[in-house]
């Protein structure tokens, strides 16, 4: 918890805080002078038989309220300068981390809800905390000044128990936050379990799994109940802290009152001091307690979800601006463009390797297809070949250079990966197509678009300068644009990972031909026809991998035979 609050406090700009405090001082003026003026009103006015003088003093209270209103208005404006930078920081963190996660193949669950919901909760709660903390701070200062102005002896009696309660509350914050966090987590678990049971209710019934479903939800329900009940302890502590800080000063004052009056403290001053407690200290303390109790908790929970990285907070987005990608000089003597040596990878220590001891090489301009049933590890292999996954053993080399030693930018100069979901973003068509080759001329862009059959689509979208709205594009259209982009990339090797699955067979054939003419091509095949177009085929069959041309595979691979049978017997769609 400490860490979260340090994070929350660390971004405060001193200037914004001082501005906020200065306006707060003005806002708190009526509270600070209330007791003082009432004491005068009673002593010099109402008890002295001059009621109009007393009324005039009370008029002063209203005047102070008007000044305070001026301050209150400015406080909110100043609050923006404190709160918005904090929110900026959180947005930056969420965006940076979720993108880094997505790029590393570990997509952040609920990244969008973090951005739109949790960040907003944090913003709101942060403001709530700032308001209640500075309210309590400024009120305490104001009341202290007022009490001192009334009589120092009154201040000496009232303030110590108040601060005692304040400190007790601060000391128990950690405990309360722990309980609250447990409750929030139990709540999230419950929602999660309820969601899964609700979504699968019919499926569970069909499988006779009703009892399992009830038991699955029963755990989180009971845990949530327990966590919720445990909150009562935290609430009791808060009540006790308020009793010490808010009520004890009053009692102390009452008990000491006879002696104070003997020592010359006036009845008006006593009334004023009581009012300071009742209208100043008590509301401020209760606002602080409820503010920190609710907003503090909400902030804490939101921050634990957002998990802001306290270490590298303001590090600029690291990689350099994408510059033109120059073709690489050819190595001498010529090594295979892409080679895998003893490539082995498993997702966990207990799991069967998805790829094991794979050995092959692809020469310049060669066209290789990879086939196999879904779930056999084809996409894993693509990620390994691209250097996006580190193998457990063995390695991948591009023209003799170990992929593990190459930076992301260097890898991008050697190969382009085209995954299943064609990536397009809100920007011009040109920006989308030249994404991997920022310096490309319009002619080059048009040539690549034509090669993969995207010219018609680009024209329909309104040309290269048209703004592209991804949600208006079908999956097939996205894939065509992504194909054109990959085709334009200067990288000599292209790896298509089911990148044409939303295209019809004719469009797929055209795109694959264009890439085969472009340079080295590795296709993770979606349809058997892709395998027919390749010079060599790598057949993955859960544990075994066979590489060869079609004739050879017909002889040795039963899986390949099944595949070809489907292709030739294709009477049905």
């Amino acid at each position: 918890m400490r860490q979260e609050f340090r994070y929350a406090a660390s971004g405060l700009s001193a200037r914004a805080v001082w501005a906020l405090l200065a306006w707060s001082a003005l806002e708190i003026l009526p509270t600070a002078v209330f007791g003082l003026m009432l004491a005068r009103a009673v002593d010099e006015g109402f008890l002295a038989g001059r009621p109009w003088t007393g009324a005039a003093w009370l008029g002063g209270v209203l005047l102070a309220a008007a000044v305070g209103a001026l301050g209150a208005a400015r406080v909110y404006a100043a609050l923006g300068a404190v709160v918005e930078p904090f929110r900026d920081r959180l947005v930056r963190q969420v965006v940076r981390r979720s993108l880094a996660g997505a790029a590393a193949g570990r997509p952040e669950p609920g990244a969008l809800s973090l951005l739109t919901r949790q960040v907003e909760i944090a913003r709101d709660a942060y403001a709530g905390i700032v308001v209640s903390v500075r309210g309590c701070l400024v009120t305490t200062v104001g009341v202290t000044a007022g009490l001192l102005a009334l009589d120092a002896r009154l201040a000496a009696l009232v303030l110590p128990p108040f601060f005692l309660g304040l400190m007790a509350f601060t000391a128990t914050l950690g405990f309360a936050a722990g309980r609250q966090r447990a409750a929030a987590e139990a709540d999230a678990d419950l929602t999660d379990a309820a969601g899964r049971v609700a979504a699968a209710a019919r499926d569970l019934a069909a499988a006779g799994g009703e009892a399992y479903g009830e038991a699955f939800a029963a755990g989180p329900i009971a845990a949530q109940r327990k966590a919720e009940r445990a909150l009562a302890g935290a609430a009791a502590l808060r009540t006790l802290c308020f009793a010490v800080g808010g009520w004890l000063p009053l009692l102390v004052l009452l008990v000491a009152a006879p002696r104070l009056l003997d020592q010359g403290v006036t009845a008006g001053a006593l009334t004023g001091a009581l009012l300071y407690i009742l209208t100043g200290l008590q509301p401020a303390l209760s606002a602080l307690i409820s503010g920190l109790g609710s907003s503090g908790l909400r902030l804490y929970v939101a921050l634990t979800r957002i998990r802001p990285d306290t270490g590298r907070d303001e590090v600029a987005e690291a990689d350099p601006e994408p510059g033109p990608l120059n073709p690489l000089p050819l190595p001498d003597p010529p090594a295979p463009v892409l080679a895998a040596h003893g490539l082995t990878f498993a997702y966990g220590p207990r799991s069967t390797p998805a790829v094991e001891d794979l050995e092959f090489a692809v020469g310049p301009g060669e066209h290789l297809a990879i086939v196999g049933p879904s779930g056999v590890g084809k996409s894993t292999l693509a990620a390994l070949l691209c250097g996006l996954l580190r193998p457990d053993r063995g390695g991948v080399a591009y023209s003799g250079d170990d992929a593990a030693q190459l930076s992301p930018r260097e890898l991008a100069r050697r190969r382009v990966l085209l995954p299943q979901g064609g990536y397009v973003f809100t920007a011009t068509v040109r920006e989308n197509l030249a994404y991997l080759h920022p310096g490309a001329t319009d002619e080059a862009i048009a040539a690549s678009a034509a090669a993969v059959g995207a010219t018609g689509l680009v024209d329909r979208l309104g040309g290269l300068d048209a703004l592209l709205a991804p949600r208006d594009l079908s999956s097939g259209e996205r894939q065509i644009l992504a194909l054109a982009r990959a085709h334009l990339s200067p990288a000599p090797v292209a790896i298509l990972d089911e990148a044409t699955c939303h295209l019809d067979p004719a469009a797929e054939a055209r795109a694959e031909r264009a890439f085969a003419e472009r340079g080295t091509l590795i296709v993770i095949a979606h349809r058997p026809s892709s395998a027919l177009r390749a010079e060599r085929v790598l057949v993955l069959d859960g544990g075994t991998a066979v590489l060869g041309d079609r004739e050879m595979l017909q002889g040795v691979s039963p899986l390949f035979r099944v595949l070809m049978a489907h292709q030739s017997g294709g009477a049905t769609p």
Binding site: A198, L250, T426
Partner: protein
């Protein structure tokens, strides 16, 4: 299935309150006692101040005030703990009941959206659980402001009059400065959704971005909307400042007038200085009238929540018989089956039979009622008229265990629930059966490649549509006599589909297969061709193929 009688009654606000009855006397006593103590305290303080000012013995009044303060704290403690415990228990009870209803009424549950159901189970139950405490709280909360007004009148009617004038002034101030603040908020939300939209796009392109090494540039692109967001955010705070100023003026307005009148009364000897202090406090308490709307709102919220969750809570569970099946091969027979939907019948008078061990394909254009037929065959729905029998026994007469042992359903988009992959494959089933089923549908290899094999937590599972379908098939695999497959292999690749096909052919169970695939229809012994909820024709695929309308069903 033993039912709790109280839980079977329809859920109303009154019923929800009654269920918390054990706690309510304690909560009510604490709340009312606390309110009365708070009302008496200013008078006690006044007595103490006056006794002190008069120089007399103030021990009595001071002790009284101290006692009232202690009483208030004690009541506060008792009320809040009792309320928390009461609401926590009630929420858990409501949730357990709702989960049971959701699982027990598969034929009714499709009316609700999943997100909606979750909201009712989590937030809805939490709000509804406050039904009891909020009903009591509304009464107790009205006590201090109303009592304060009464005491003001009792002290001196002019105090009450001054208070009323103050309230009018407050209302005027609040109205005077009322201002629209929604425009800024709207622009802020627009800026926020723009950032969110860009982030969504980029997240979808994670692999492309990783391969291109452009994560940094993408971050900059997504964050380019941040300055606008900050600008609108500050504008929102500025818009709030008017509200802040209003509250600052309105606050003292209600009390200063009362204090001034009290002052004149003190000067005239009608009130003591202590009573002046008390009048000020009662004026503040009376101003709490405004926040009473909050209490009423809390009750209204609990009421609305009860009504919302009652829709789920009052679902009647699917009823099961007690029969078991006679020996048989799994002959499925529909006789005059009609299923009504919101807009007319979905299935009309269907009569057909699938011999035991045979495969029947159900084909038809989308919207022709194929999935409803599958659900009816798997008894996730009951026909509104007509009967469905398995080996001569009506499905509705079978016990739940017998029914689910005999038949099962796999769909195109199976919803998976459970802690681990094994749970998703066979909820509550022994591991050996789960592994057998997974092996049969070719999911075993997939499972063993995962980080923790069958114990891999479900949320960590990398899953394509094909993977999910395989898990769904494995989950239904245990059925002894009838397997209903609703487009259940459509996302499998050719090779995997082939394996499943072989495994299916090797077992002798009856199969009812909803499909869009002509090959599958061709392989079936019998085709049931649906059109607009009625049977257009039945027969072998080869015979029907001559009809151009039939061929059109497969042209997609």
């Amino acid at each position: 299935m033993t039912a709790v009688p109280a839980a079977e009654r329809p859920l109303t606000f009154r019923a929800a309150v009654r269920r918390s009855l054990a706690w309510l006397p304690l909560i009510a006593a604490a709340a009312v006692l606390g309110s009365l103590g708070a009302l008496a305290l200013p008078l006690a303080l006044a007595a103490a101040v006056d006794a002190v000012a008069a120089g007399g013995d103030a021990t009595g009044p001071v002790a009284l005030a101290a006692g009232l303060i202690a009483l208030g704290v004690a009541c506060d403690l008792a009320e809040s703990s009792a309320e928390t415990a009461c609401a926590a228990d009630a929420a858990a009870r409501l949730r357990t009941g709702m989960v049971r209803r959701v699982l027990g009424a598969p034929h009714r549950i499709s009316r609700f959206d999943t997100g909606d159901l979750v909201a009712r189970i989590s937030a809805g139950a939490a709000d509804a659980a406050h039904a009891g405490p909020s009903a009591v709280g509304a009464v107790a909360a009205a006590l201090p402001p109303l009592g304060a007004l009464a005491i003001l009148v009792w002290l001196d009617w002019r105090l009450a009059a001054a208070f009323a004038v103050g309230l009018v002034l407050v209302a005027m101030v609040l109205r005077l400065f009322a201002k629209q603040t929604t425009a800024a908020a709207r622009q802020y939300q627009a800026a926020q959704s723009e950032i969110a939209a860009r982030l969504t796009e980029a997240l979808d392109g994670g692999r492309t971005i990783a391969a291109a090494g452009t994560a940094g540039a993408e971050t900059r692109r997504v964050l380019s909307g941040l300055p606008a967001l900050a600008r609108h955010g500050r504008a929102m705070w500025r818009a709030l400042s008017a509200a802040g100023a209003r509250a600052a003026v309105a606050g003292p307005l209600a009390t200063v007038g009362v204090l001034a009148v009290a002052g004149f009364l003190v000067a005239a000897g009608r009130l003591s200085p202590g009573e002046l202090l008390a009048a000020g406090q009662y004026a503040m308490m009376g101003a709490g009238l405004g926040s009473l709307t909050g209490v009423v709102a809390a009750t209204a919220r609990a009421k609305a929540a009860v009504a919302r969750i009652a829709e789920v809570h009052d679902l009647s569970a699917m009823s099961y018989g007690t029969d078991t099946l006679p020996p048989g091969t799994g002959r499925l027979e529909f006789t005059g089956v009609t299923v009504d939907g919101d807009a007319g019948p979905i299935l009309r008078d269907l009569t057909f039979a699938v011999p035991g061990g045979a495969t029947a394909a159900v084909v038809g254009a989308s919207g022709s009622g194929k999935s409803v037929l599958a659900e009816t065959a798997a008894r996730l729905r009951d026909p509104d008229s007509g009967t469905v029998t398995l080996d001569g026994r009506p499905l509705s007469a079978l016990s739940r265990t017998e029914l689910r042992r005999a038949l099962s359903l796999a769909t195109a988009r199976p919803a998976l629930a459970g802690a681990t992959l094994a749970d998703a494959l066979g909820p509550g089933r022994p591991r050996t059966l789960i592994v057998d089923a997974a092996t049969a549908v070719g999911a075993h290899d997939f499972a063993t490649r995962l980080p923790a094999a069958y114990d891999t937590p479900l949320p960590d599972l990398p899953m394509s549509g094909g993977e999910a379908q395989r898990i769904g098939l494995a989950r239904a695999w245990h059925a002894e006599r009838l397997l209903v497959l609703d487009d259940a292999t459509s996302s499998l690749d050719l090779l995997s589909a082939d394996r499943v096909e072989q495994a299916l052919a090797a077992s002798d169970r009856t199969r009812l297969v909803v499909t869009y695939d002509a090959t599958q229809a061709d392989r079936a012994d019998l085709v049931v061709w649906l059109e607009a909820g009625a049977i257009r024709a039945t027969g072998p695929h080869g015979d029907l193929w001559d009809d151009p309308d039939y061929r059109a069903v497969f042209a997609r």
